[in-house]
Every structure is written in C-alpha cells, then in structure tokens.
C-alpha cells in the first residue's frame, strides 16, 4: 500500500515557504504553502523534519501561528545551539521547501468543551505563538467570550506580535510583564509572574474560566501551580511545555 494515505495516519509532506516576516531580532514567522493541508484547530502544532546531505535528520515541533482558515504559519525562535531553528530563521527563503507533518494535538486546542468559559492565556516567551492562533480564531468566529493574555517576555523588543497584540480587540486584554529589561517610563509589570500578579489577572474561579499556559517548562509549572493555588481545577488549566530554551 505504499503511497496510500491511511486515515488518521500522519504523513510527511512538502511545505514550500511563501512569505517570511521578522517578529523580533531572533524570531521569524514563515507562511507555508502545504498542498492538501487537512486544516487545523487553533492551538495545534506541526513537526518539521530537516534532512542533511549526509542523511542526518532533525525533527522539531512548532506551534501553528495562524487561525484555522488562514494559510499555515509557524513562528520560530532562533536558539543559539539549535539544529533546526537557525535554518528556519536565517537561511530559509521564499520558495524553499522542507518536510512537515500535521496538524498535531487535540489537548491544547480552543474552543474547548465549554465555549463560553472566560479565556485566560498565559505565555512565557515564544509560548505566545499558539495564542495568536487562538485569538485570531476567536475574532474570526465572532466569539464574545472575554479573553485575557498575560505575556511574560524578557524585554519589550522581545515581545512577539507586538503590533498585532496592541490592536484593540473586543473583550481581549493584554497584560505584559517584562522580566529582564524595562524601557524608561514602563508602567506595566516587571519580573516573573508571581502568585500576586496571577491573582490580579486571572478570572475568578467562580466564573468557570479555562486557562492555557504555554512556554518554557519552569514557567508553565510555576504558573499552573499558581492557578491551582487560586482555586482553578487542574482540568481547567491546560499546559504545553517548550523545554528550557528561549525563556522569558
């Protein structure tokens, strides 16, 4: 049955780079042309596979940055010792291609079972990527569920999607905390996300909110524990860990 796509199976397919746009000094968004893309849900990811001339293969997962009805986009942060991200952020040009498979995941997706739950998004660094997909999707489907994004970044120039997030949208609040460097006159929050800040930003548990936490592992563990401490049921705190790299 070689060459026959089996239902439910993931197959590697060729993605061609369309447009490329810089988000920050080390983060780039790639729009991909993927013939026959099955369509994705907000919050899902895809796997990228690069094969070197000597046959060496490297695979990495990237969250999908675009809404379900848009072309597939991924946003990639360059890691100094990375095997895949330097290629995707520095080398790749429109018209180049590489292999992907997806969409992947059914857990870290929105809407979830209760579409009316107030939405709380908590991002550390590049953990904001799936939230662009979720917020764009929320706008496209005309959802009026209130949404808050708490975004922890190293500094203002490290904020990904800054212009888009600064565009006022109905019932979406974006709250920043800058962990390493704050510009002169910064009136937002500084430092890591503390339980006190969480208490200020998080919807009260009595409103039956749903929380999504994405970022470096240490960020996710600390924020998820903080939410449970505030009274969030653990099954209303969805988590996705990116590891120890590219932290806020």
């Amino acid at each position: 049955m070689a060459g026959t796509a089996v239902r439910g199976r993931l197959t590697w397919q060729v993605a061609t780079v369309g447009s490329v746009s810089d988000e920050t000094a080390s983060v780039r968004t790639l729009e991909l042309d993927v013939p026959g893309w099955a369509g994705h849900q907000a919050g899902q990811h895809l796997d990228v596979r690069l094969t070197a001339d000597d046959g060496y293969v490297a695979e990495r997962s990237y969250s999908i940055a675009s809404a379900p009805d848009e072309p597939v986009m991924i946003t990639v942060e360059r890691l100094a010792d990375g095997e895949v991200s330097p290629y995707l952020t520095e080398e790749v040009r429109p018209g180049d291609d590489f292999e992907i498979r997806g969409p992947i995941g059914g857990y870290f997706v929105w809407p979830w079972q209760d579409p009316d739950s107030p939405l709380l998004l908590l991002a550390g660094g590049s953990g904001v990527v799936p939230f662009r997909s979720i917020l764009r999707h929320r706008a496209k489907i005309g959802s009026t569920v209130p949404a808050r994004l708490l975004y922890s970044a190293r500094s203002l120039p490290d904020v990904i999607y800054h212009a888009e997030l600064a565009t006022p949208r109905d019932d979406v609040e974006v709250i920043y905390t800058l962990t390493r460097q704050q510009p002169a006159g910064w009136t937002g929050h500084s430092g890591r996300v503390t339980d006190a800040l969480l208490g200020e930003v998080a919807w009260p548990p009595g409103q039956h909110p749903i929380a999504y936490v994405c970022g470096p592992t240490a960020f996710v563990e600390s924020v998820a524990a903080g939410l449970v401490g505030l009274g969030y049921p653990p099954d209303r705190v969805k988590t996705e860990r990116y590891g120890g790299v590219g932290g806020p």
Binding site: V6, G8, R9, L10, H45, L46, D47, S61, R101, G102, I104, G105, G106, Y107, F108, P216, T217, A218, K238, T239, E240, R241, Y242, G243, G244, V245
Partner: protein, 83 residues
C-alpha cells in the same frame, strides 16, 4: 535536557497508534494515577523518547527508533485509552 510534556510527542504517538493520542487517558501501572497523555512528563532524547508519570515519576513508555522502526515499550502503562 528539560522535561517537556505529552504534547511534544503528539506526532510520534500518532505515527505509532494511527490516531490523535494526546487526549488519550494513560493509567500508570505503578501508582494507578490516570491522566491525559498531554500532561505526562516527556524526555525527547533520554536516549529514546521516555514518558513518565507526573504523579510518581515511574516510566510509562519508552520509544526507541531503530532505522525506520519504532520499538515501543509500554510496560509502565496499565491502560491507554483514547478519549
């Protein structure tokens, strides 16, 4: 290498099982805790891919790829049920 979670092996598990598995419920054979695969602790290069119980830390599953074949050891799982 930092611990990730079951989301990170959604593609690998779909390759092995032929279905979306991050929402499947995994039951630890050691402590009996049941939870979604997405919430398990995952190490990608341990070597091999290792999935551990978030409650007790026991190994639930190990996947080692040899050439194009995935060898799956799921001895630490009492059950793995798609949602």
């Amino acid at each position: 290498m930092d611990a990730l979670d079951g989301n990170a092996i959604g593609g690998l598990l779909q390759e092995i099982f032929g279905a979306e598995m991050t929402t499947a419920v995994a039951t630890c054979a050691t402590c009996g805790t049941a939870g979604v695969v997405a919430e398990t602790v995952v190490y990608l290069r341990a070597p091999g891919t290792v999935m551990r119980c978030r409650t007790c830390g026991a190994v639930l599953m190990v996947v080692v790829r040899r050439e194009d074949v995935n060898c799956v050891d799921a001895e630490g799982l009492a059950a793995l049920e798609p949602s």
